[in-house]
Symmetry: C2
Subunit: 248 residues, 2 copies
């Protein structure tokens, strides 16, 4: 099945491999996937080699570095979610489709520590999955979101970026809760925050010109001076509290 992603991956030539090389490559990829999913990037390459039944040298012949191997397993999984989203792009009942899709992605990733770590690192700019992979996912998800919004099932003031971040948050939360404690509970809660209705708050706007900011303690809006101050507080009480916090 699809090994097509290889062509875009940094790994050189997927064609014309000797039979044993092809077999070992698959074994390595397989072992790496499960090892990374269980224990994250921290798992030693030696263990992956051992699980795959090969030597560490063989691993390095197929993948120039540990990161390349890690990236391959993660990209693979994201592509899968993207494909699923595209398949659902014209399914009936956009609202239900959207929420079920979110729940499914979380459920299928909740045990995947590698994906979580990749998303964390990607946010900090330390790790870039093959260019376009994340963008492709966002686009496919965006289609589902827009349809759900047009159908009135999702509040209009959320953007794709919010949903991606929310997915990330659900992943973190479900993982924290572990397989025992009510799987899907946090995700269901999160989905409620996306529904339109009378109990919704005005969300803090995404960047834009800033003439006001939020009080660093209580969160109330405060007009910000042009003087490049760092933190603003809404009054004496909050400022005192901030000092107390800073005093450690």
């Amino acid at each position: 099945m699809s090994r097509r992603w290889n062509t875009a991956a940094p790994v050189p030539a997927p064609a014309a491999l000797r039979a044993d090389a092809r077999r070992n490559r698959a074994l390595i990829l397989d072992a790496a996937r499960s090892a990374f999913e269980e224990r994250g990037l921290g798992v030693p390459l030696g263990e992956i080699a051992r699980r795959a039944g090969v030597g560490t040298g063989t691993v390095h012949r197929h993948f120039p570095s540990k990161e390349a191997l890690f990236r391959a397993t993660v990209v693979d999984r994201i592509r899968l979610f993207t494909d699923t989203a595209r398949e659902l792009a014209d399914a009936p009942d956009p609202g239900a489709v959207f929420f079920r899709y979110l729940a499914a992605v979380v459920r299928l990733s909740a045990r995947n520590r590698a994906l979580l770590e990749a998303l964390e690192a990607s946010a900090e700019g330390l790790f870039e999955p093959t260019p376009g992979v994340e963008k492709g996912f966002q686009e496919a998800l965006g289609v589902l979101l827009t349809r759900a919004q047009k159908a009135g099932a999702v509040r209009k003031d959320v953007e794709v970026e919010d949903v991606v971040t929310l997915l990330f948050g659900c992943l973190s939360m479900e993982r924290r809760r572990g397989p025992a404690g009510a799987p899907g509970r946090m995700t269901a809660l999160m989905c409620d925050s996306l529904r339109p209705g009378r109990n919704v708050t005005k969300l803090p706007a995404i960047p834009a010109g800033r003439d006001e900011t939020a009080c660093a303690v209580c969160g109330e809006p405060v007009a910000v001076a042009r003087t490049g101050r760092r933190a603003r507080y809404c009054g004496g009480a909050c400022r005192q509290k901030a000092h107390r916090l800073r005093a450690r």
Copy 2:
């Protein structure tokens, strides 16, 4: 101020230290806190020593291990939040207090990588902040939650454990978004999920006897056989999709 937590910490005697030792201890704790908050547990002890202007040997004289030092900084921060929650326990307008408290905790922790890592590790049982510290926080938070629920500001079907997990999720999300992109936006969204109203879903129950489970793909409920099966699907389509996913 309060160095009281030391008495319970694994670090031996806080009393009768020589003047230079007392000074260095404070310098180390201070450097460790900022270093851990910026870069997490991954920061080398050598850098902490350098920032504090002492040698690595001195660090180890005051704290038996890197983990002990890490724990000290984290526990300190959690205690602070606990204290704040206790102070708010009889403030007027329980609903507003509750939501503002959540937002404040997230805002003050969003840059704190150490806290996030400690919470992750604690969930996996790899790290136990001084016994009672987490429990104390949960109790104090529970008071605020119960009051807000009684005031009708928070839906009745969430429990303290949910709120703690939600806090953790908000921390992850706000951190992912970085200081640039709309701070507090994800937290505001999550708070909406806690509000009562007509657009709330029935949440998956916390553990309990399990005679049914959720379809591993679409999430619909399925009666589970007594045969200790691993995963259950709601029908042929979902089972096929699961196989496709498993086939990598």
